[in-house]
Amino acid sequence: MILSALIFIPMLAALLLILVPKEKTDLFRWIALAASSIQLVLVAFLIQNYDQSLAGINQAETYQFVEKFDWIRVSAGSYGILEITYFLGVDGLSLPMLILTALVGLIGVISSFTIDKHVKGYFISYLILLSAMTGVFVALDFFLFYLFWELMLIPMYFLIGIWGGPRREYAAIKFFLYTFIGSLLMLLVIIGLYFSYVTNPGAAPEQMVHSFSMVSMMNQQNLLPGSLLSAEHWRHIAFLLMFLGFAVKIPMFPFHTWLPDAHVEAPTPISVILAGVLLKMGTYGLVRVMMPVFPESWLYFAWGIGLFGVINILYGALAAMGQTDLKKLIAYSSVSHMGFVLLGLASLSTEGVTGAVYQMFSHGLISAMLFLAVGVIYDRAHHREIDGFGGLAKQMPVYAGWTLFAFFASLGLPALSGFVAEALVFMGSFSQPVTQNLAIVSTLGMLITAIYYLWTYQKVFTGELNPKYAGYPDLTGRELTMLSVLGAAILIAGIYPSLLTDLMTSSVNHLNDLVKSAGTASAGLN
């Protein structure tokens, strides 16, 4: 029941908030803080009891902390039995994401303490969002997955649309529209998959169980002969449609333009959640769904996916370079860094895929820290123009120190988490003939990243102090706590990566083997 508890505790807290009178603003904050702290404790418990030798992926029995109940089960005559299950489980791909969600979720709550407009509505939305995100990472039934996926959209829409900046409505609608179109594509394919797979192949037609279980769809012997998705070209089409759905979320070039808008308008904590956790949903979808369910398509399109990864890296970095708004710069930097995930996954090497998952985790922490850092100065100066600052290091040395730390983490300084991820991705993609050329080009991105961060730091923090900012206080205790926690996590993940990679290794290896072997086996499939 621990996974259900993990998902629903924030939602229960949200229900509790409904009962609390509107003017007790502090109570909202503390309840939210408590809920998200409990989440973190539960995740710690998961890590403690996690058996890292078990792989998960396409083997239902090697998932851990599994909860599986029939939810809906109806007989549909000659179509067989239609089944929806409440199916949760954790493996080496989802556990890092849970750690990330719990940690960033908690930081997000602390950061939300400064929100003072409609506090009640804000925290209710926030907690629902937290539940939905957790749900996505542990759902193993497509129906459930989709439910949580969509559930995420609503609170996010309101959080940007109500608590955002001046152009919040435009940004919220853009966000909503993009993701919604993506979801529709996804739904289309989910339904196609549903009718093409059964959990008991070989049974009589009336007895065949059509299930939304992802795990069952990852085993190609469950494919119903003659069904829509048993034809290779349909599988490729389905793959592309669903890929598009996830690509919007990553966001992959050229579907990235919603991200800078959403970030610029979103309040700081929501930017933190958006960059820290939400973007990872897209890439998580790739590893959880696309690779194991469509292995032969993944192999077929691998180079193209890697290419888009590299385009993300370079295009995002070049676009970041030219930004004058600090938040927009970091948003484009996110686009760039998420490209490494695509590149690593495309390489299908152990190092590459491990690096990709590591990057999801690492970028979650680093981007959260970056957006918090931007929030600090925005709260004081009420603007984010890079050229409008100058010399802040003198006035706010601790702030300058942590910001520089975050910048260096983002530009891939060794001993910080980003380096581990990017080096592994680079190494993995370099070792595979398919992606070798892409790997070499991608290094340019890391160079550009160094340049724009160092220039930005120079413009904002060094030189003579701009007298306009002479009275600014350094970090408050709350701000310092948030930045220090994230900074410590980034450092630990950088100097002791085996803590996390050991949790992932079995699953990553199994995933790779699955994709590669199914890819060769699919030669006979038609």
């Binding site: 609503i154 339904i191 030219g322 930004q323 080096a423 190494m427 160092l454 030189g463 100097i495 085996s498």
Partner: protein, 634 residues
Amino acid sequence: MTLDLFSYVILLPVAGFLVNGLLGLFNLAGWRSEARKPVVGWLASAAILVPFLILLQIFIGMAAQDKGFVTLYNWLTIETLQVNISYQVDSLSVLMGLMVTGIGFLIHVYSIGYMKHDPGFWRFFVYLNLFIFSMLNLIFADNLMLLFLGWEGVGLCSYLLIGFWYQHAFANDAAIKAFVMNRIGDFAFLIGMFLLFTSAGSLNFDAINQSVGALDPTTLFLAGLFLFIGATGKSAQIPLYTWLPDAMAGPTPVSALIHAATMVTAGVYMVARLSPLFSASPELMVVIAVIGGLTAFLAATIGLFQNDIKKVLAYSTVSQLGYMFLAAGVGAFPVAIFHVFTHAFFKACLFLGSGSVIHAMHEEQDIRNMGGLRKYLPQTYLTFFIATLALAGFPLTAGFFSKDEILFRTFASGNYLLWGLALFSALLTAVYMMRLTSLTFYGRERFDAGHKHPHESPALMTLPLWVLAAGALTVGFLGLPGVVSHSNWITEWLSPAVITAEVHATHTTEWILIGLGSVIALTGLFAGWKLYTTGLETVTRLKSGLSGLYNLVYNKYFVDELYDRLVVGPYTRLSESVLAKIENRFFYPVFGWTSSAVSGFADTLRYIQTGYTPVYLTLFIIGVIGLISLILFI
């Protein structure tokens, strides 16, 4: 050999970093106050002194062929990729470690005096400790990945320390330039590292060096070449050397420690650590030797006409690093390390001496505004002069032995052209160093003595100078030439860790070369002294007579301008055009109009509906029904 205490060598500097860093950052216990400065400084110094003593104890108790490993923990294991935080203690790493901690300690002590009035005192020592920590990781790493962690760590400290006075724009520009140019090299390094990993199957030095024979020559050449490009960044060689002279914007102790004695020699160290790999590719060795020789020459010519005391020394460093690579390129890896070792003493001494001068002259760095300082700064002068002799290769000083060995080995390897170039550069070295000494310390005072009041530095600063000067006089005897003594201690000491090419030359040849080297050094020193004391008019005449050539060299061959024109400009324009043209004029409008359209639609809709949720749900349900029917009925 007992390594029980070895982990403290690594841990103490980082402990010093943490204690001073945390207390200073939050200004606890008055850590930033004037009264705490001695505590901060001596704490940081002790964090380096104790590792030095531990290494000394290990050194005394070890034989040259001893080799031990200290593993702290497993950094990462992914299939065959296994990286441990593991340190390799052998003759090479111990020697380098002693040098880094020993000279590092002296420079820490010197800095207590030098940085006394700086408000960022604590920050300075925090960075210095972090630097030593990174440098020790680099040196003792038993695998390429850990070496790279240290490699980047020293790069970070270099960035932080060059830009230490962050209020000055030029300091930041220089810091960024250093970091970015190093990054270019670092990527080559990474590519080389991964090439090696994919072909040799390991990142451990021992495993790589042993697998050299099994690698195909092209891979070997490429992997080595990429690693070497990495080294040209860190060790300021052509084409990535232009950051080092700018790096002089940092405080002078930093220039001495990082940009002369230790960090910049990391490239040479890396090449020596992988000497079996590099020497297995003759083509690669040629590349290294040529780059080294050309850099030695190019930087020496630029050094001739610089007027900033630190810039002269910076170009001299670039030039001497060139000599080290030349040695490596002709297969004399132990000699390269020997020169690293001797160079650390006299170059650190020179930089610290220049710091003492700058201190005395109230931040004046232009030697045209100095002169006659000998009588004001007698100790600084004397140590500076000794180090000058050592750098110029005056007989029996440290630089004499190591540089002559390089010249001899270059000659013996048959690269006569490179030998000629190196010999000529040695002449230039003696000239520009004596020019520097003469313009600074001799002749008449070209400043207002009544107003400036130059004064000798305190003992805290002069003592390290004397220790280093003593080293500059004596450490050369560790590597006596073959004609004098059968046992060359340093070569023998390093032989288990570093390979060396066979030497085919007669004793007569060696004697002739030593004689030639001595004559060259003496000639250069004399010319430098004569021209820049009494012969200043001749210099002026020469300059105007050869004004074209002079301008070219004076402007450093316009290499910075060339890079600006060829790389920086196009790059900036590219990023501007990507943003302005592609992103803003294409992707934003194309993908934005849909949202605007919906937004407009929603604005109308708002009058009918109170919220968006019903719309959303309706859409959702219609969608689901539509899709199910689509799939069921096609």
